[in-house]
Amino acid sequence: MSEHLPRPRPSGSTRLDGYVDRYAARTRGMTASEIRALFSVASRPEVVSLAGGMPNISGLPLDVVGDAVADLVHARGTVAMQYGSGQGDPRLREQICEVMRLEGIDAHPDDVVVTVGSQQAVDLVTRIFCDPGDVVICEAPSYVGALGVFKAYECDVVHVEMDEHGLVPQALRDAIATVEAAGRRIKFVYTIPNYHNPAGVSLSPQRRPEILEICREADVLVLEDNPYGLLGFDEEPYRALRADEADGVIYLGSFSKTFAPGFRVGWALAPHAVREKLVLAQESATLCPPSFSQLAVSAYLERHDWRGQVKQFRELYRERRDAMVEALDDMMPAAARWNVPTGGFYVWLTLPPGLDAKAMLPRAVTSRVAFVPGTAFFADGFGAQSMRLSYCYPTPERIREGVRRLVGVIEEELELRETFGTAVPLARGTGRGYDGPHTDLT
């Protein structure tokens, strides 16, 4: 052996993961991803991140929250730090019913199950309804966190077209017919009717009865996910689908956007029999939702003008929406298209033909701006030409600067595509890896 080589240990073969042959098949796609790695740079202050959907809670009255939490520990500490009911705190469930009343829902607290954010509610509903291979119908695009759950339970996602008025009824009819004709079982239609993540559109009031009727006729459940419903800028809250259909709709809500995501408190409102199953599933998953968080949220709702706080949030997000849309109007190439959301956090932007948002992300990170490529919001690889832009977190000035940088990136990319031809199929590049769910993507 050469003098270059120290005496080695006996030859060894390793995969660096001794459990690799034991994982469930569903983990196969869970690999490192270049896209997720790039979001690590997006967390730096030099980068204008139009990627993450982090609620902007800078305006929260931390003194009120602090007092409420201190009083909670002082007065009810042994309850707050003890196990609780699997279904969730009874008083909080009453308050949740008051919140839902704003969207026309008349519910009984017995039918509410508190969950760890509405993300866990998606998980529990999927767990009790879906076997591997069952079909879930989703909008195109759909929420990356829900797609992650459906993938984990090995569901097949069928996407249905949306337009500026939300889910397209005829497209839903056609999709249901096609799936049923293939002998497949549809377990539910997952929809975000208000201020959609990522599409930024809302299901029009005119379409809501039609969507419910289609699902009723086809005997397909609706999973209505509504985290942004109270964050409309110019209008009264939309009437929830659940307000007009109690048996065929499971409704999911959250305090993450109307209060704070760190408490991780959401809920499901379900028909009684389904609620029973959800509680059992919740108990097997976590025993109970966190007592401390529930009581803290309950105290906040009790002691603070939370409706006034939501109004403040709406104004904050409206200002940022305006900044984003004005910047896009001023600077974006004419061939790009985007919507003007009337609430929520997101603009869905479609790039000029031939561009690929995912392939563009490294260049964007170099230029210190980040977005979420559209492919994250599809289970089937579509969405390459689109991206989600979040305006919820940066200041209006930073949003404008972010759009300016993004436009520079798009122009460079257009030049590159012009050089090599817009029909160039992209190389593997950023193709592999598990892109979601992730707090930078949600």
């Binding site: 080589l5 080695p8 991803s33 790695a37 490294p362 090599f420 160039v424 592999r432």
Partner: protein
């Protein structure tokens, strides 16, 4: 050891920030495990003030990608006269730029695949189709296209069909303005760390890389279980020695110091091809250097501490 307080620089703004953070954490833990006081620090506007006010005995720049591996941060460390582990800025610049590194090692007599580095602007000025045709005529297939500066296989694509070249170029240009197109050499992929703790550069055991999907891409590099590593590589003694010789020769030819990792291909004829060298090699849980260090019977913390001691004890460079 004489150095009692070390700052590990990790993170930065490059595309490899996430990998760098993981490398930094791993090395910091290894050093803490043997009692070294370590601070993990990102590179930001407060760094120089911190280094000035609270001078560490040594800085470990574990920054991957630009500013870390191109020597820029090290240049600044020299400006403020803080000892650091690793190669000097000018050597980093040569090593980080793949075509420059290839030219240097070729002059030293090492084999490196034929290739050409071209900026995007050249394709724009001369037309992509004729330039790509010239590349294909000259180099043939298969090819590999990669950004000239960068690591972790980001923007790298193998091209086995002429129609795939344009897409591969576009992917590489997403990570930088200049792309290297080189002949793809089929063979066994190996990595060879080189360390110098004061008595000259020596190679550590050769690590052979066998990714499940056949491509050692980002996912294969950073997903435990996706790649099988043979440590030491299942090579004949002669071939292992040749890999070690090539890695040490590259380290010397490029004027590197302390630590490097050369990525090589051993083809079926037994020729060892130099692909690239890393002056801040990955130290993550799935990186090859820690595997090689362990296979050498060394402790990662102990080895890095030895390298730190070397860095602290050596004379500071004089600035002209």
């Amino acid at each position: 050891m004489s150095a009692t307080r070390v700052v590990v620089l990790a993170g930065g703004l490059s595309h490899e920030r996430d990998v760098s953070l993981r490398s930094g954490r791993r090395v910091a833990e290894a050093l803490r495990g043997i009692g070294v006081e370590v601070e993990e620090r990102d590179v930001d506007a407060g760094l120089l003030a911190t280094l000035r006010d609270d001078r560490p005995d040594c800085v470990l720049p574990l920054l991957h990608g630009e500013s870390g591996e191109d020597g820029a941060v090290r240049e600044v460390l020299e400006l403020v006269d803080v000892p650091y582990l690793g190669s000097r800025p000018i050597a980093c610049r040569s090593a980080f730029d793949k075509p420059v590194a290839k030219a240097v090692v070729a002059r030293a007599g090492l084999h490196t695949p034929a290739g050409v580095a071209l900026p995007h602007q050249t394709f724009r000025e001369l037309g992509a189709a004729p330039v790509m045709a010239a590349i294909l005529d000259s180099l043939g297939l298969p090819l590999v296209v990669k950004p000239t500066r960068g690591g972790s296989a980001l923007g790298c694509t193998a091209v086995r069909d002429p129609a795939g070249l344009a897409g591969a170029m576009v992917s590489a240009f997403a990570y930088g303005d200049t792309a290297l197109v080189e002949r793809l050499v089929a063979g066994r992929e190996v990595a060879v760390p080189v360390v110098d703790t004061g008595d000259g550069p020596r190679a550590l055991p050769v690590v052979e890389i066998d990714p499940d999907g056949g491509v050692y891409d980002y996912a294969a590099r950073y997903t435990a279980g996706s790649t099988r590593f043979e440590v030491p590589a299942k090579l004949s003694d002669d071939l292992a020695e040749e890999c070690a010789r090539v890695a040490v020769a590259a380290h010397r030819a490029l004027g590197l110091r302390d630590l490097s990792r050369s990525d090589l291909i051993v083809d079926d004829a037994g020729t060892v091809w130099f692909l690239e060298v890393n002056v801040a090699p990955g130290m993550t849980e799935t990186s090859t250097v820690p595997l090689s260090v362990a296979a050498a019977g060394l402790d990662l913390g102990g080895l890095v501490a030895d390298l730190v001691r070397t860095a602290v004890d050596r004379p500071r460079p004089e600035r002209s």
